[in-house]
Symmetry: C2
DNA sequence: TTTTATTATCGTAATATTGCGATGTATTAA
DNA sequence: TTAATACATCGCAATATTACGATAATAAAA
């Protein structure tokens, strides 16, 4: 089958999974980290930086853009990509919420 | 090809991607959240809770265990699963590190 | 020992992801 | 207009993931 049964889960669970999927490839992690460091970024830089073919990187950028993590603006011939600050905050909170759940009840007796 | 070129990326990038992959399915998010709430948990509960077939859940549990997020101890006929507190902290820090990188330089001018 | 209950593993079908060559598109330079 | 540059999209091959029926493994109960 290979198809996720999204209808079984809450909206929040599906969203977290979808966002996690965006980070679930080292190339996309690398792209995000590169954008975090550099103030701005041109697609062409990434081809040299990552060592993957240009179409492959373009595809990863598309996925990050689809989730809203990054945004791109056409800058003459090239494209400038950067982190979307609002969305970044949202995603940060999504994960923080998950991680905070445990801290609250960390005094349990575990198996 | 379908095979990730892990050799192109840093150890940290690969690890973050691998951990993110564990969260990249709503069933696994649901399992983790269930374990966060319940003090302890038996596999059978999850079959009723999630609505997926038993082998499917067993497979998701295996993946979470492989990453180290959860741990299970045999409890008679059934198995008790729970969050691994040490690993949870590690993973929390891994993500926190990523999210914190942006806050520092959030005064940039973006595209 | 036989049955029952609970979980794991195997095998397989359906679908998704990854990577890249070839090609298309759009903008600037000549 | 033509050429060059920078990305995006298409199409395909290889591999990975998801789901589950069938079946094995294990331990308690009868």
């Amino acid at each position: 089958m290979g198809v996720t049964k999204t209808e079984l889960f809450t909206k929040q669970q599906n969203e977290l999974a979808q966002v996690a999927k965006a980070f679930a490839h080292p190339a996309r992690v690398a792209i995000v980290q590169y954008l975090l460091k550099a103030n701005t970024c041109i697609n062409g830089n990434l081809v040299q930086e990552l060592g993957l073919a240009q179409p492959t990187i373009s595809q990863h950028l598309k996925e990050l853009k689809a989730i809203g993590i990054i945004q791109g603006t056409i800058e003459g011939v090239s494209v400038s990509y950067c982190i979307n600050p609002v969305r970044w905050e949202e995603i940060k909170n999504l994960f923080n919420h998950l991680f905070t759940q445990y801290a609250i009840a960390s005094d349990r007796d575990c198996c």
